[in-house]
Each structure stands twice: as C-alpha cells, then as structure tokens.
Symmetry: C2
Subunit: 264 residues, 2 copies
C-alpha cells in the first residue's frame, strides 16, 4: 500500500476562476467555477482565497496619479527613497510605522498586520478596464476580510447545502527569516487559533507550545500549493481538516496586541 | 465529481513510530514504521519530522541538576524570573539575546532561529530511562539538523529506491502574531526557499513577493496535520509537491543575516 486514507488532508486549486474585476460578485464567480469544473464542495472543506482577488472584487485599485501626499508622506518618502504617493497610501492604511530604512517601510495595518508597504500590491494591480494615460495602479488590502470570508462561505452553503469555511490569505514577510508565507487575514468557519492549554504531553506534563496559529498554517499550506499552480489560481481547497465549526471566530485573534509586543 | 487529482498535495502522518530514545537510529525506526504499516514512500515524498524526535535520538537531554550557571546567567535569571540553570543553557545555545522581559527570554540560536528559550523544550523531555531523583530534564534542539535530515533521506532511498526529501521542523512563535507555526530547521532534498525573481504577473509586470519560504510552508502544512493527530505522531508525509531535487540546499537560506535585520 502506498497511500493511506485516515487522517489525510488534501489540498488542490479550484480551476476555472476568471480574472476578477471591480464590482464582481466573487462568491458567485466561485460557485460558477465549481459548476464549470463539475465539482462539489464537501462538508467542512476550507477555501483559501488570496486577498488579491477579494481586493479586485472590492475595487480596491488606486491610481497613484490621484494621490496627493501630505508633508509627512513627502518627508518619509525623501528619507527612504520611495514614491511619496505610495507612502501616503501606506500611512493612510496604517496605525503606526514599525520600521523604516532605505527602500523599506514597515507598518502596522489597520487590520493588525505588520508588513512592508501595508500590504499594498504593485503587481497584479491593473484594473481590467484601465484607461490610457492612467496609473500606475496599486491594489490595497481588502476591507473587512472576515465579512468577505463569511459572505463567500454562506453563499456556498446556500448553493451546495454544506458548511464551507473560508480563509482570506496574504503572503507576508517576517522578521528573522527569509521569504514569504501565506497567512490568514480573514476567516469564517475555522478557528483563527487553536488553544491547547491544559493538554498534557506524552509523559503527562503540560504542553509547551499551547497556542497554534491554526488559520495561518492552513493559509501557508494553501500558498504552498498555489505557488505550484499556473498563474491565476487564486482559490485553493483544503479538504480533510477536522475543526470545530466556528462562524464567529475573528481573525484578529491572530494579532498580538501592540502593547506588549517586544518587537514593535 | 468531488475530488480532483491533478496538482493535489496530500498530507498524512506516518503511524507506528515508537517513542524515540537516546541512541536510537531514527532512520531505521522510520524504515521499520513504513514496513509495519505496509507502506512504501513515493518518489519525491517529503517527510517532515519534528525536531523533538531528532533531539531524543541524538540524546540532547540535559538534567538541570547538572547545570552550573555562571554570573551572567544568574543575573539575567534574577532580572526576568527564570531558573538560572535554564538561562545558562539558553545562553550556551545562542549567539545573542534578542529580547528579555519578565518570564521571557528570546535569543538567536546558533542555528539562526530567533525564538523563546533557544527552542529548549521542557515538555516531552523525559529520557526513557530517567533514574529516580534526577531532573527536571529538558531537551535541546538537534545538532546539525541538515545532516540529520540527509542521513534519514539517504537511508530511505537506500531501502526503498526512491528519492525522499526530509525536513526537520520546529514549532516557532513569531513577533506580531499569536500562536506557533511549523518551520524548517533542517532540510534535505527540497529547496529551503523558492526564488521567483524575474517571473511576471498576470499582466506582464514583475512579481512582488518573489522569494517564498518553501520549506517553512511545507513544515507548516505538516504541523497542521500533526496537530490533528493523536499524540506521538512525529513524522508527517507530504505527497504531490513538485520541486527541483536539491540535496545541497542548506536550511540556513531561510535565515536572515543578523546585520540588516531591522527587528533584531
């Protein structure tokens, strides 16, 4: 025997999703993608959706030509050598500047994410019907990603009659380590964290690593598979995870409070 | 149809691994576990092995009664309220202290990992034949985890005739975010990072997130599945990933140099 069944989690991309445009109903596009592929979701599948397509559907495009940076943005832009219009957008999206250095601006986004440029993306950021002479365009992170996840999960349940969890993910850099990892920025149905405090180890002593970043690990596994896929595979299905159905667990449970974070 | 095949990655724990004791030949125990389960590994399966069992096999147990803290360890221990013997071990395992606060000691381990207590584990740390009156026992991170990974991968290839990659993983906390994620501390066969610089986005512009923490994402996906399993499942198989066979990619590629890390 070469492949087991019990306890197996499988991860695969959802094909047939078109390029998403501003104003699109992303939940309906995903339902259509299932129908076109003749697929059906299974009970407690977890759909991991890249933030990019959620932002595109929400129309979170900004034409940098329309941004008028204030004095603070111009000062920081001069100091670190960045486009002052981009810096102005980053500051508007953020609650604090964590670090700045030549070419680098790391902030805490209003969603709680600490990342470069407040997660503003300059690739894959062209609106579908951008007019001549506009741009460069950038794409902001989605608004209310927990709510966006819930809308998609509830639409899928309505269409297919099974509970489907949704994670909105983004690829985040980290301190200390090279490379990005998929992380959860919005959740519906799955718990954001798994708290095992009180459980015992093999020898009956309390476990040490007692809080696991449950939704982040699912997002990382989906990013791993999406990275293998051809361009444009923005939705990944994670099948076979067991978890307590958690329609009200906010993704903010993954955010360490600023006060008490030794690295902010 | 409810389940696709192409591009699917599946993740499942390897059963039948016994509790590992100091001096055990871990590679042979894993081969035995395959045989007992009547399983065979497949070409380019990735085995993710928790650092705990590698440390146990290497006999990285320390009886705190045998540790004699020096002046620096005693001073730090008094300052943060920790056992000075544990602090002495943490310092001996580390190249620098990143942060300290009451109850918290975050260092950069000689392997390059920035984590609490230099990854020293106080749960699951009891040697199999600990004598009465000894301990408390702790378990240090493995020595030369790349080499440990290679030995296991090469033994599996020798036994089963297929190339098997190995990742030694540990659950690491992170700044900014709550909860631990599985991360790679040793690799064999898989690249530690995936560098996509030069690739273009959907619209022909250069991609932004160009270096992915490839081995970390695999480790996170395995940790996700291990966390679901009953206690004692220390080896997880990741099947279906495509990657360039990389027998010489060191895990240190995932470590950001201390100089230039804005958060150290």
């Amino acid at each position: 025997m070469t492949s087991p069944s019990e306890g197996t989690v499988c991860i695969f991309p959802l094909p047939k999703l078109p390029v998403v445009a501003a104003g699109d109903d992303l939940a309906s596009l995903i339902v259509d993608a299932y129908r076109k592929a003749s697929w059906e979701p299974k009970h407690h599948d977890v759909l991991v959706i890249t933030s990019k397509v959620v932002s595109r559907a929400q129309g979170r495009f900004v034409d940098l030509q329309t941004v008028h940076p204030d004095k603070q943005a111009i000062e920081i832009a001069n100091e670190i050598g960045k486009d002052p219009r981009l810096v102005a957008l980053v500051l508007a999206e953020s609650s604090l500047v964590a670090r700045k250095a030549p070419g680098i601006l790391i902030t805490k986004h209003h969603l709680g994410l600490v990342s470069a440029n407040a997660g503003i993306d300059q690739s894959n950021a062209l609106p579908q019907h951008a007019e001549q002479g506009t741009g460069p365009w950038v794409l902001l992170l989605p608004q209310e990603p927990d709510r966006a996840a819930r809308q998609i999960g509830q639409k899928l349940e309505q269409e297919f009659g099974v509970q489907i969890a949704v994670i909105i993910s983004d690829s985040l850099g980290r301190p200390f380590r090279v490379g990005t990892v998929g992380s959860a920025i919005g959740v519906y149905g799955v718990p954001a964290i798994s708290d095992q405090r009180g459980k015992a180890d093999l020898f009956g002593r309390p476990l040490e690593h007692t809080i696991t970043a449950f939704a982040d690990q699912i997002a990382a596994s989906a990013d791993m598979v999406a990275g293998q896929a051809a361009e444009g595979r923005a939705v990944v299905v994670v099948r076979g995870m067991e978890y307590p159905w958690s329609p009200h667990a906010p993704c903010s449970e993954l955010i360490r409070p600023t006060k008490g974070d030794l690295f902010l």
